[in-house]
């Protein structure tokens, strides 16, 4: 399976294994959420303790699910947009194998306490080396595919993808430099340069690139403005990188660095507005398509969540609002609306569209897919609201100077709501896994291809 030379086999392998990691990562996250409502659940079991589950959850969904799904989709999009074969299918397949082993080993390390202790960079050195090698190899494959392309003009998605594969290995290298010992706050500064850019220069740029491909493709309408999309690309490339310090805005790091972070964070409104204007203007007059186009519905729901997260983001980074909201569960809600609400929804839409085309086989069940959409959406809305409101309760507690333990009990309803929303999402994604497995096993589809034309291969 992992040594195949078949066209698009690497893309398929990445996507299918990513869906497995998605369910594992969500199980870990749900376990953590339940432990908030029943803290004594993990008594005496080290690997079940929340503080070990949390990094395992974050790394599984970030590097196992989201990164691998993004890569899988990119490995489909790049050859399609360049009208050429992937430069080296075998190499990409090999990376998929290495990446899976790295995530598997990484999770085992984290739940057993072998952690580097830096947020988003917890994986121990051998895992870091594996992931970095994988990234560099993928960069090589993607760039060689782009160089040997047959279509001269680069579509905007390719700009995003090529840009990402240029800077991501560098960002990952800086973030995981275990051999350079930096003192205290400097370590924090570099840690958050990486911690923020893994979101900004990896998930965002790949996710937006995928959405730029999916929305015109699924709606059958041309992109509204190419020049606006280029403006969005250049501003995101320039504005995103220096914003990391806003995660430690009130620690005693240099003021000029904080000022830089705040200014560039607020400037991020520009790429966000251009990207979303482009998406929504492309959809102008076509919103009726959402009724019977599930992948498009996924992608556009993601776009709406992108609007929420990216309006929250720049404002949270300003000093006065950070002063109130930092350190609370509001931030947890914000992080999830970006990675789960936005980019995961983009990837769901893309997978429902791409997998039938790679396998040349219709998706097993439309009903399961619709259940997946609604369960994930409703579960996520419950999750997001509970974390946002709970965060405001916490903020009020900090603001009034009440010791944390005295208002801690007020958070209980929000912990319970979060676990409930999480259960819904978990169930929805188990259905998704089931759907993907049945499609892979080539079980006869339950519905006719006309029900959801986007989830069936093109008639040729």
């Amino acid at each position: 399976m992992f040594f195949s030379d078949k066209e698009n086999s690497a893309s398929r392998n990445f996507i299918v294994t990513a869906v497995f990691w998605l369910v594992i990562g969500m199980t870990l996250g749900l376990t953590g959420a339940i432990e908030f409502t029943a803290p004594d659940l993990s008594t005496g079991v080290p690997w079940l303790t929340f503080s070990r589950i949390r990094p395992a959850h974050v790394n599984t969904v970030a590097f196992g699910w989201l990164s691998m799904a993004n890569i899988g989709i990119v490995l489909y999009i790049v050859p399609t947009l360049t009208r050429s074969k992937l430069f080296n299918e075998k190499l990409a397949n090999f990376v998929c194998l290495v990446w899976n082993l790295a995530i598997f080993g990484g999770i085992l390390c984290l739940v057993n306490g072998y952690s580097e202790g830096r947020e988003y960079a917890e994986f121990p050195v051998p895992i870091d080396v594996m992931v970095l090698t994988g990234l560099l190899t993928l960069s090589y494959v993607v760039y060689m595919t782009a160089i040997t392309r047959t279509v001269k003009k680069l579509y905007v998605s390719l700009w995003y993808i090529l840009g990402t594969f240029f800077w991501m290995p560098l960002v990952y290298f800086i973030g995981n430099r275990t051999f350079v010992r930096l003192e205290g706050l400097n370590d924090g500064i570099v840690n958050w340069f990486y911690g923020h850019n893994i979101l900004g220069m990896w998930f965002t740029t790949l996710g937006v690139g995928i959405a730029y491909y999916m929305i015109p493709k699924l709606s059958g309408r041309p992109l509204w403005s190419h020049s606006l999309s280029m403006l969005g690309f250049w501003t995101i490339a320039f504005f995103y990188a220096p914003t990391g310090t806003h995660h430690i805005l009130q620690s005693p790091v240099p003021e000029w660095l904080k000022a830089l972070a705040v200014v560039f964070s607020v400037a991020l409104v520009i790429p966000v507005i251009t990207v979303l204007t482009n998406f929504f203007m492309t959809m102008k007059g076509n919103w009726w398509q959402l009724a019977n186009n599930l992948p498009l519905r996924f992608v556009l729901t993601g776009a709406f969540f992108y609007f929420i997260t990216c309006i929250q983001g720049p404002f949270q980074a300003t000093r006065s609002i950070n002063w109130y909201l930092h350190f609370t569960q509001w931030v947890v809600g914000h992080a999830h609306v970006a990675l789960l609400g936005t980019f995961t929804f983009f990837d769901f839409g893309a997978i429902y569209y791409i997998l039938p085309r790679i396998l040349n086989r219709q998706f097993y069940s439309v009903g399961l897919a619709r259940a997946h959409y609604w369960l994930t959406l409703i579960g996520f809305l419950i999750f997001f609201s509970s974390m946002t409101i709970g965060g405001l309760v916490q903020s009020a507690g900090w603001h009034a100077g009440i010791p944390v333990n005295q208002w801690g009990i007020e958070m209980v309803p929000y912990w319970i709501l979060r676990a409930m929303g999480g259960s819904l999402m978990w169930f929805g994604n188990v259905l998704f896994l089931l759907n993907v497995i049945q499609t892979m096993r080539a079980v006869k589809p339950l519905d006719s291809p006309d029900v959801e034309p986007a989830m069936a291969p093109a008639k040729s």
Partner: protein, 318 residues
């Protein structure tokens, strides 16, 4: 590659290296704070504890920097405090309290009990229990936590705990065994404490109905084991996880000692009446009272109260 893409390529390269330079390299060149008075150079034991802190992921719920607007975490931190900290444990979320000034706030035994089951020391906490830590790991972790902030908070003299016993006792000017002090304390108790703890300290004040964690019933046996300093510390620091405030911020030291004097006189449950009372016959009250007067005085209950037991759901308040 097509020449049309050469210029954009160079621009990407330049802008990105500029960003890397300004946000990653520049701070490391020009931001080099000198170690401050509170920068902790870890002993081997503390360093081992710090590794356990990282391993167990404490940083995911506990931050280690005090912000200007934080009112309850002691003095502000300075850049020089972090010189010996690698990797950083600044943290980005406070599900639990900030720990920058944790050193010296609680006795070691409190920390061990807290790690083993957080609910015993802070009711309502969502911290996971770390019972699986080995004894030497626990010792190292406690040593690390006690090293945080180099007891900055003790230095600023805002906190008392049993380890600082002599210091607290030296400053004491109130004779807590005198009935005059107890009488003074009674007034303070009725003004400040009775709304929750009840006028007789049974934990049945009018507010007790509305409080999730019920106020303490002082007639419970374990309160009879409290010595003066424990009483004083408990009043000063309040009870985390409950509505019991930190009276250290509201009452003077003298007032708190008067309270201690009063609280010590509260009788134990089911022993409210001296033994002699059991043989009392209400009809011959006056006669018998004369006989048992000496015995009554020797046991000196502060007041005679009804023993209906604690109100339903009354908490221990430990």
């Amino acid at each position: 590659m097509n020449k049309n893409y050469l210029l954009p390529g160079i621009v990407v390269l330049l802008s990105f290296s500029m960003i890397i330079f300004s946000t990653v390299l520049l701070p490391n060149f020009i931001f080099k704070p000198a170690p401050s008075e509170f920068a902790v150079k870890y002993t081997p034991l503390e360093a081992k504890g710090r590794k356990i802190y990282l391993r167990e992921g404490c940083v995911y719920c506990h931050s280690q920097f005090v912000r200007p607007q934080d009112r309850d975490f002691g003095p502000l931190v300075m850049a020089g405090d972090y010189v010996y900290e690698t990797p950083n444990v600044l943290g980005t979320i406070r599900t639990g309290p900030d720990l920058s000034n944790e050193g010296g706030k609680h006795p070691d035994a409190w920390h061990i009990a807290h790690f083993k089951n957080p609910r015993t020391t802070t009711p309502g906490s969502v911290m996971p229990p770390f019972v699986y830590l080995k004894d030497e790991e626990m010792k190292a972790l406690v040593a690390y936590v006690q090293s945080l902030g180099k007891k900055r908070i003790v230095k600023y003299n805002r906190i008392y705990h049993p380890d600082e016993l002599e210091k607290v006792l030296e400053k004491r000017k109130v004779n807590v065994d005198s009935s005059a002090a107890a009488n003074a304390g009674r007034g303070i108790f009725q003004q400040n404490c009775a709304t929750c703890h009840g006028t007789h300290g049974l934990g049945n004040g009018p507010n007790a109905i509305a409080i999730a964690k019920k106020p303490a019933n002082f007639s419970r046996p374990f309160f009879k084991d409290y010595d003066d300093v424990t009483w004083f510390w408990r009043i000063t620091e309040g009870v985390p996880g409950t509505r019991m405030p930190q009276w250290g911020k509201l009452l003077t030291e003298e007032q708190r000692w008067y309270l201690v004097a009063f609280l010590k006189t509260l009788p134990r449950e089911n022993e409210v009446y001296p033994k002699a009372y059991e043989t009392l016959d209400p009809e011959r009250w006056n006669e018998q009272q004369k006989i048992s007067a000496a015995e009554l005085n020797s046991q000196k209950p502060a007041m005679i109260i009804e023993t209906k037991g604690p109100p339903p759901g009354a908490g221990g308040g430990h």
